[in-house]
């Protein structure tokens, strides 16, 4: 628990056959992200809030979400980290809530489609559509915290009978509005 969020821990999650992205030390210095600097300084995710521990099951159940699993991820050869959990529903959307070193400002700089900024519980928040293949079935919301953000991702396929016809970004925002008040002010 002490080194939670430090890059060395990420190797553990790389045993997943699924999570091909960025596992191991294949960093060959992708141009856009400054990975040479990151190689020296361990990448940290915010520690003030743990999505897996600090979100009561009852809160997730109120939006139909259950079956929590750890979902850690990295990209850019280990320069971007996500640590958190995923939930889902049999007939509704699936969700990921993770702390990440991605900031609200860096999301803005990407100029993703559908980008909008607002305030949730006094924190800056930015919503965007980062999925190319089926943009309306996914939505990403980053809420500012110390050292990065708390990121919400919803997967809401059109085939989901309970939520598939509802705007995914609206659902994402509604979920965030339930969770963000649980974060300590110091986070």
């Amino acid at each position: 628990m002490i080194d939670r969020g430090v890059i060395s821990m990420v190797a553990v999650s790389c045993s997943a056959a699924f999570l091909l992205a960025g596992c191991g030390s294949f960093d060959s210095g992708g141009g856009v992200i400054n990975s040479s600097a990151a190689a020296k300084v361990p990448v940290q995710v915010p520690t003030g809030f743990d999505p897996c521990q600090d979100i009561p099951d009852s809160v997730m159940a109120s939006v139909g979400q259950s079956s929590k699993d750890v979902d850690n991820f990295q990209a850019g050869g280990g320069t971007i980290l996500w640590r958190g959990c995923a939930w889902a529903s049999a007939d509704g959307y699936a969700s990921r809530i993770q702390v990440t070193n991605i900031t609200v400002d860096s999301v803005r700089g990407q100029h993703f489609p559908g980008t909008q900024e607002f305030i949730i519980n006094g924190r800056r928040a930015i919503i965007s559509q980062q999925q190319d293949d089926h943009p309306s079935a996914a939505c990403t919301l980053d809420v500012a915290m110390k050292g990065g953000s708390l990121e919400f991702n919803l997967t809401n396929p059109a085939s989901a009978p309970l939520t598939g016809k509802t705007d995914t970004c609206l659902l994402t925002r509604q979920l965030a509005e339930k969770i963000v008040p649980l974060m300590p002010a110091s986070a």
Binding site: S13, A88, A94
Partner: protein, 163 residues
């Protein structure tokens, strides 16, 4: 039109059986508690499929994998294979009808159809029999949760870390 029918029966192999069950032409001899477990297992399966789909979102949204795909070509010098591989993996995760995401969506639909089929059969059993209907309701709320079937081959499952 005929093509459409054939195509939809291929994509929804259970759909015709549901119609048969609704018409009362199909019944399944099974204890009521088995219907309860079957219904729960369908929910479990559908939930897991959605959770894998959200991981696929996670994978396909990543533009920077750190394999050199962001290298800017200098004349003839380029890292073609890294760009090709990353694009291929991202589109295999999500992109078009033969992507992992789309295949799982059709799996979800098939599990949902099985659930509807067994619900329809069970409703036929309980619709005209109040005692059976009451028993099902009671079982549904009181039967202890049963662990889902063990993962076998291809049971890539979802990664869990002990924390």
């Amino acid at each position: 039109m005929v093509d459409n029918v054939i195509q939809s029966s291929q994509q929804r192999p259970v759909a015709a059986l549901i119609e048969e069950a609704k018409a009362g032409n199909l019944s399944v001899r099974m204890d009521l508690d088995k219907f309860v477990h079957l219904d729960r297992d369908c929910n479990y399966f559908k939930t897991q499929i959605r959770k894998i789909q959200t991981v696929l979102d996670e994978i396909s949204q990543q533009k920077h994998w750190g394999y050199g795909e962001s290298y800017v070509a200098k004349g003839v010098l380029d890292l073609v294979s890294s760009k090709t591989m990353v694009a291929r993996w991202r589109s295999k995760a999500e992109g078009g009808s033969n992507s992992f995401y789309a295949a799982l969506d059709s799996h979800w639909q098939t599990v949902d159809d099985f659930q509807t089929l067994f619900r329809t059969v069970r409703e036929q059993m309980t619709a005209h029999d109040e005692a059976q209907a009451a028993k099902y309701k009671q079982l549904e709320s009181s039967l202890p949760q049963q662990a889902p079937a063990q993962e076998r081959l291809l049971g890539a499952g979802f990664v869990t870390e002990s924390r």
